[in-house]
């Protein structure tokens, strides 16, 4: 009998305790932000889609079109094509991402040897059409350079057959020069490095083989 009344009293008191909590929160200020009239600041490492980083020294991107990012991407959404303007320097002529596949994993950023990519911190990325989510990063870079007053990096043209042949010839020249220098070094220090000497002449025929292959490849393209 006593238990019955005790249960009722304890239960009733717990209900009042719960109501006290709610009324306390009733008079607290609200914690929500009325987007889009008020905006939040994003955290510094927030991930939007990737974009090319503008190097403060050169005023342009640092991508060398090595395609490491395209190879590591789990969703295979990066398309990079490069062209050699100079035998030692390759620049991208096309860098397009299909953002609708992106899982924001960051593997492309981490695998880039020149640290050319960064997160763009864009979050207004909703579109009506799937094609609007395909971003051309070179065009985006140009827009950013214009906005910052920097000289705009031109997007290179795809190489013609002549240019390819020219580049192949230049590369062949440089490779020959390298092989000659290596052979000279091998001749100058034969006795001291016997295994080294075996390795060096082994390198020289390999170097000879490469320029022989290279023109064959470029001509095929």
């Amino acid at each position: 009998m006593i238990n019955y009344f005790k249960e009722i009293a304890v239960g009733f008191y717990s209900l009042l305790a719960g109501m006290a909590v709610t009324i306390r929160y009733f008079v607290k200020p609200i914690v929500t932000v009325q987007y889009p009239r008020q905006q939040l600041t994003m955290s510094p490492r927030y991930r939007g889609h990737i974009e090319l980083l503008i190097d403060p020294e050169t005023g342009t991107h640092q991508c060398i079109a090595c395609e490491m990012c395209a190879r590591i991407c789990p969703s295979q959404l990066i398309q990079v094509e490069g062209v050699k303007l100079d035998p030692k320097k390759k620049v991208p002529l096309k860098y397009v991402i299909e953002y609708y596949y992106c899982s924001l994993c960051g593997l492309c950023l981490e695998s880039c040897p020149t640290n050319a990519l960064q997160w763009s911190k864009e979050y207004l990325l909703a579109n009506f059409h799937r094609e609007d989510s395909v971003y051309d990063l070179l065009v985006r870079l140009q827009k950013q350079q214009r906005a910052a007053g920097l000289p705009v990096t031109p997007i290179p043209e795809p190489p013609t057959a002549e240019q390819l042949a020219e580049m192949a010839a230049k590369e062949a020249q440089i490779a020959e020069a390298k092989a000659k220098a290596a052979a000279k070094k091998a001749a100058e220090a034969p006795a001291a490095e016997a295994p080294g000497a075996e390795a060096k002449p082994a390198e020289a025929p390999a170097a000879e083989a490469k320029p022989a292959e290279a023109p064959a490849e470029e001509v095929k393209e």
Binding site: T22, I23, I30
Partner: protein, 324 residues
């Protein structure tokens, strides 16, 4: 007014004007209550609630009502058509008619019947019939579930309601609502009978199917319970009936326990409305704090706890009155 009085007699004119005023009051009340519910819920949940339409969302309900009126009145295939169409009307009319006897102030009462309280209690049982009609006619398992639960719940909670009302009537000695209010001119009955007040508020919340007793419309279990198949204006009528029922229950609680329109400086009507809305705020507070009660626990609570306590209250009241 005078023109009407020539045709219908003073009582008839009073009724017509009163009914028009009541319909206006019900609409404005529903408008205000829905906005208030959303704002109270929002602030308890640390968010602003409706802010877009009108200053602080004041005319959000008008936008919602327009939307509901524009919706198609879908009648599913195998329903029992007459019952399906009548149910929203039957749920709304008794509640509207209960306004006839509510004393808003000393003179503002449409018809001061001498069985006032009995009329209201009788009319508050009719919506149960309408819920059963709605659930059955919908040809939907979930709706029938909701209707059955609602009927059992409503009948179970009617009894403590009636018994606590009886305790008050014993003290007053008459069923007339204006008499009950007049008898509280010295001190309100909530001070004399706090237990009855608590039981009445609990049963009132259960009668209007509000949380924590909102099993008939348990959203997370049965989609929408007995009004699953209703859309558009019919759904709006169910909604309207629920909020008007809340008003009636709070109005009767004010009359019985909180002294009706008595109060110091402001006119009676203002005090009455303030007290009614304070009680409605209390009911909203319940909704946003407590989880739902399971069905068998609901019935157990009514039969094993509320009814014995209400009876005990009645016996003690009778004893004290006899010994005076």
């Amino acid at each position: 007014m005078e023109l009407l009085a020539q045709f219908l007699g003073i009582e008839g004119a009073r009724m017509i004007v009163g009914l028009i005023a009541v319909i206006a009051l019900v609409s404005v009340n529903a408008l205000f209550l829905i906005w208030m519910e959303r704002k109270v819920a929002a602030h308890m949940q640390l968010r602003p609630g409706p802010m877009e339409v009108g200053p602080h969302g004041a005319i959000q309900t008008v936008a919602d009502a327009l939307k509901l009126m524009g919706k198609e009145l879908i009648t599913p295939d195998e329903v029992d058509k007459p019952i399906f169409w009548l149910a929203p009307i039957v749920v709304f009319l008794p509640v509207l008619l209960s306004f006839l006897v509510v004393p808003f102030s000393q003179t503002w009462i449409i018809r001061d019947m001498n069985v006032g309280i009995v009329l209201i209690l009788a009319f508050s049982t009719l919506p149960v019939l309408a819920i059963l009609m709605a659930g059955w006619a919908s040809n939907n398992k979930y709706a029938v579930f909701g209707a059955i639960r609602s009927v059992a719940q409503n009948i179970a909670y009617e009894i403590p309601l009636l018994i606590t009302v009886m305790s008050i009537i014993l003290m007053v000695g008459s069923f007339k609502l204006s008499d009950i209010v007049a008898a509280q001119s010295q001190y309100w009955y909530v001070l004399l009978q706090p237990l009855a007040f608590i039981i009445y508020i609990t049963c009132g919340t259960a009668e209007t199917n509000r949380a924590p007793f909102d099993l008939p419309e348990a959203e997370s279990e049965l989609v929408a319970g007995f009004h699953t198949e209703y859309s558009g204006m019919r759904f709006a009528l169910f909604f309207l009936a629920e909020y008007t029922n809340m008003f009636i229950v709070s109005a009767i609680a004010t009359v019985l326990f909180l002294g009706g329109w008595h109060g110091p400086f402001l006119p009676g009507v203002i005090w009455f409305l303030l007290k009614v809305y304070a009680l409605i705020f209390l009911m909203m507070w319940f909704r946003w704090t407590f989880p739902r009660v399971r069905f068998d626990q609901l019935i157990t609570f009514a039969w094993k706890i509320l009814i014995p306590l209400a009876f005990a209250n009645l016996l003690i009241t009778a004893l004290v009155l006899k010994l005076r």
